[in-house]
């Protein structure tokens, strides 16, 4: 079931009404049933997968807790069960293809078996939640006593398909609080849902058309066009995923539950390290806590630290999808983080005036440079394969030359008048960047802590109007649903 579907428009209010009408003890079972209904509308058989994994993890993690001398073995088994499941569903065909390509290089012609495996929605997310739970119990945290509570932690429908990746210590205690209905749950929740739908339907889906055209047919676009299209993808993926997260958080809020944030104005990051503190926060913190730190983190010297950093990001890239371009994107992010560390150390060594580093101008230049570095990474992420990514990168590199002889006729997007989003791109991209700055300024002014009541109502009414007008009959799926 998609958040931007009529099914959800019926499902969510129904579950909401039942939840608040039922006594507290019946609410968690209700949400558990609702979450399975939500999941099984897509492919009922995969409900068994999530159920099987939930029961297996619950039993295995109980063994971790009870075991005195074999905790390490049991945590290893638990992690292995989850990773093997993920590997079978997500990486088996990729692995076989890679072996085939490797053998082909060695002159061996091998017809690999192609397995028709359909990736279960959300598997990457709930497997990460299971691993987090197992590792935390191994580290000494308490287990979840109730299987129903644990089942809901794993399957909670607002976060089931694409996160945010929850932490059980934050989520489970909320289930036992006998909350009373408050209108602020509805107000805050619906405001988030409307904002999320607005981000998805009004911005991301429209940008998607330009991005699809540019990344499928880069030969039809100039270097400057491709830069604009790359910026467009940067905003498409941000508004798509943060829109999804807003709907997820808003939906959870309707039941009085809080789930973690995922974004904090990522394109205002002044360096790549900061970017990863602002982008897909629940994933980056998961990677830090359950991959980077267990691998040794920053312990063991500079090179070991860099190796850990690089491997963490490369595997994080591969987590997004079983394809070389995702691996390349992850490796690129790892390399950037290492370079950033070296750059920071270099600045310290040469003793560049701290006044310069703390100047507004340096900060703005850092944001601009970081944004462009991140955008280059998005080319690897969005392109269908490394070959297309390479072609686009080469064309992007021609930008200085194109800018030196700039004329508007170089921009193919200005010539395509239908759909109108193409020429509008020259206005929309800067406007979206400025919106980041404005939101940041409003954050600084603590505007969002108590925005005027009338303004909140007005924003909701405007969003309802524009969403009813501009909602397409079939909106594309959220990008992160495929991961």
């Amino acid at each position: 079931m998609l958040f931007n579907s009529l099914q959800y428009l019926v499902f969510l209010p129904t579950v909401f009404l039942l939840f608040w009408l039922l006594p507290h003890r019946a609410r968690v079972p209700l949400l558990l049933v609702a979450s399975y209904v939500f999941y099984m509308t897509w492919r009922p058989i995969y409900g068994l997968l999530i159920l099987g994994l939930t029961v297996a993890n619950w039993l295995l993690v109980n063994r971790i807790e009870k075991s005195v001398d074999k905790k390490k073995v049991w945590v290893g088994v638990t992690v292995a069960v989850n990773l093997i499941t993920l590997a079978v569903f997500k990486y088996l065909n990729f692995g076989l293809d890679t072996i085939k390509d490797g053998l082909a290089l060695a002159g061996v012609n091998w017809h690999e078996p192609h397995l028709h495996i359909l990736l279960p929605l959300g598997i990457s997310f709930f497997v990460f939640e299971f691993i987090h739970y197992a590792v935390e119990v191994y580290r000494g945290k308490p287990v979840v006593k109730s299987l129903i509570d644990f089942g809901l932690f794993a399957s909670f429908f607002p976060t089931q398909i694409a996160g945010p990746i929850k932490r059980y210590q934050d989520f489970i205690p909320q289930l036992s609080i006998p909350a009373k209905f408050k209108w602020e749950y509805v107000d805050d929740g619906m405001q988030m849902i409307l904002m999320g739908l607005g981000k998805k339907v009004l911005i991301a889906d429209n940008l998607a058309m330009v991005v699809q055209a540019g990344f499928s047919h880069p030969e039809n676009f100039s270097s400057l066009d491709l830069w604009l299209i790359t910026y467009a993808f940067a905003f498409q993926i941000f508004f798509d995923f943060s829109g999804y997260t807003d709907i997820a958080r808003g939906s959870a809020m309707l039941f009085g539950y809080k789930v973690p944030i995922n974004f904090n104005l990522p394109y205002l990051a002044a360096n790549v390290s900061e970017f990863w503190h602002r982008w897909h926060i629940s994933l980056s913190t998961w990677l830090r806590d359950y991959l980077y730190i267990p691998m040794g983190g920053s312990r063991g010297g500079k090179w070991l630290n860099y190796k850990n950093l690089f491997l963490t990001m490369a595997l994080g890239g591969l987590w997004h999808g079983a394809a070389m371009h995702y691996l390349a994107w992850g490796a690129y992010q790892g390399a950037l983080l290492i370079l950033h560390k070296e750059y920071s150390k270099g600045l310290e060594k040469v003793g560049v005036a701290s006044k310069l580093l703390s100047s507004k101008l340096y900060h703005i230049a850092s944001i601009v440079v970081t944004f462009h570095i991140v955008c280059l990474g998005w080319v690897l992420f969005r392109a269908d394969d490394l070959n297309i990514a390479g072609k686009i990168m080469l064309k992007l590199a021609e930008a200085p030359q194109a800018l030196a002889h700039f004329s508007s006729s170089q921009l193919a997007v200005l010539q395509i008048r239908d759909p109108i989003i193409f020429p509008s791109l020259v206005l929309i991209v800067p406007a979206l960047m400025i919106s980041h700055v404005v939101v940041n300024w409003l954050n600084d002014k603590k505007f969002y802590q108590s925005p005027p009541w009338a303004m909140q109502v007005a924003v909701m009414v405007i969003l309802m109007c524009v969403l009813t007008i501009f909602s397409p009959d079939s909106s594309p799926k959220f990008i992160y649903f495929q991961f």
């Binding site: 099914q7 209108w183 009813t468």
Partner: protein
């Protein structure tokens, strides 16, 4: 009020109601944002230049392809298919037999279903545009296409439904609860119901502003570029001279094209609901025509035995029997081209579509049958030339026994 959201909902309902009362942003039904085969046909049909056609030809590509192809041969000139809405060859053939001129309008469209033909008949073929005769060429696909999710999924439906209220048939048009909910929301919430118009109005304002601010050089990028870079965008849109029927002869006619795989998909699982729904619409067409004193001619279009063999005997017999019985019961003329034995594989360009040679044969037979049919000629205010029993009610009764 305790809740900001409740206030917002009440305000939204109020805005929607006020907006609906002013109908701000609503466009005329014939104000098309872009042109598809259907939009072109509607525009041509409603234009004053067309006048009142006496015979409207209706059907899917089974009708469209031979009519257009034959006229390309007949005029020895390329025919811009989406904009060609007469059958010059038929008019000529009919005149040869009767000595009288008739004006035709070809409303056959690719993929047209009886549900689409129903909307055409109900909303457009009335008043000054009421034809004397409607010739409806049907094939089994029109009733048995299981790839059609619902009658509202076609391009003709999207444009034709703008011309009237479909509420009395909504349970047939939108059988799925989500489609139905979508429809009901459109009736209740003005901006939702008018979103196509409002989006187009908004798009026009933006486009006009942009065109003033940044005029495109050399008239902008051609549609052919967009077709390449955005193949899914407005995939029913058709440009002038994009789909042409070109003159052919027996010598240079394109080779037979095997499209059986497509029909295997269409007939893979029989959906009797679809069949019954579309049959119901055919009955509705016949009823409306009778009320308006328009005579209906149902033509069972010829298809190849290869295509027919994809259908089970049950499906085929049910189809053939139903159209014959329904036509008979409603006082229509029934012409069985499929069972006439006059069409062979050599007349077809693929497993269902006649090529222009086969099309000429079809139109010749049609002209002959119509000119000989008393009911048709009476509707046209002309005397029948021959009384062909096989197409009359009495003749049909005989054939059914």
């Amino acid at each position: 009020m305790k809740s900001r959201f409740l206030v917002a909902i009440i305000a939204f309902v109020a805005v929607s109601a006020v907006w609906g009362s002013t109908r701000l942003g609503a466009l005329a039904p014939s104000d098309f944002p872009f042109y598809t085969w259907t939009a072109c046909a509607i525009e041509d049909f409603l234009s004053n230049e067309q006048g009142r056609p006496q015979i409207d030809l209706v059907g899917s590509s089974l009708m469209l392809a031979p009519i257009g192809g034959v006229d390309a041969d007949f005029t020895n000139a390329a025919v811009d298919a989406p904009h060609h809405h007469r059958s010059l060859y038929f008019e000529n053939a009919f005149k040869k037999r009767t000595g009288e001129s008739v004006k035709t309008f070809n409303f056959a469209l690719p993929g047209e279903m009886p549900s689409d033909a129903y909307l055409m008949t109900k909303f457009l073929m009335k008043g000054e545009k009421r034809p004397d005769v409607i010739v409806y060429g049907v094939g089994p696909r029109d009733f048995l296409d299981n790839l059609l999710p619902s009658p509202s999924a076609t391009d003709p439906y999207a444009w034709l439904s703008r011309f009237g209220d479909v509420n009395d048939r909504i349970s047939l048009i939108s059988p799925d609860w989500q489609q139905r909910m979508n429809y009901e929301m459109g009736r209740l919430i003005y901006p939702y119901g008018q979103k196509v118009d409002l989006t187009n109005s908004f798009g026009r304002v933006v486009a006009s502003t942009l065109n003033k601010l940044v005029p495109p050089t050399n008239g902008g990028s051609p549609m052919s570029v967009r077709r390449v870079i955005l193949p899914e965008y407005r995939n029913f849109e058709v440009a002038n001279n994009e789909c042409l029927f070109t003159p052919t002869t027996d010598a240079n006619r394109p080779a037979f094209s095997d499209n059986i795989a497509e029909y295997k998909k269409r007939y893979k699982h029989m959906k009797w609901d679809t069949y019954l729904t579309q049959m119901r619409f055919m009955i509705d067409i016949l009823n409306i025509a009778r009320e308006r004193k328009t005579h209906m001619v149902i033509v069972a279009m010829p298809i190849t035995p290869i295509n027919r063999s994809l259908l089970s005997d049950l499906a085929w017999d049910t189809y053939k029997h139903s159209i014959k019985v329904i036509a008979l019961a409603k006082g229509a003329t029934f012409i069985d081209m499929e069972g006439s034995g006059k069409f062979g594989l050599k007349d077809f360009s693929d497993t269902v579509h006649l090529h222009s040679g086969g099309g000429a044969k079809l139109l010749d037979i049609l002209a002959e049958k119509l000119s000989a049919d008393r009911a048709v000629m009476t509707a046209l205010n002309q005397p029948a030339k021959i009384d062909d029993k096989s197409t009359t009610v009495a003749g049909l009764k005989g054939s059914l026994q």
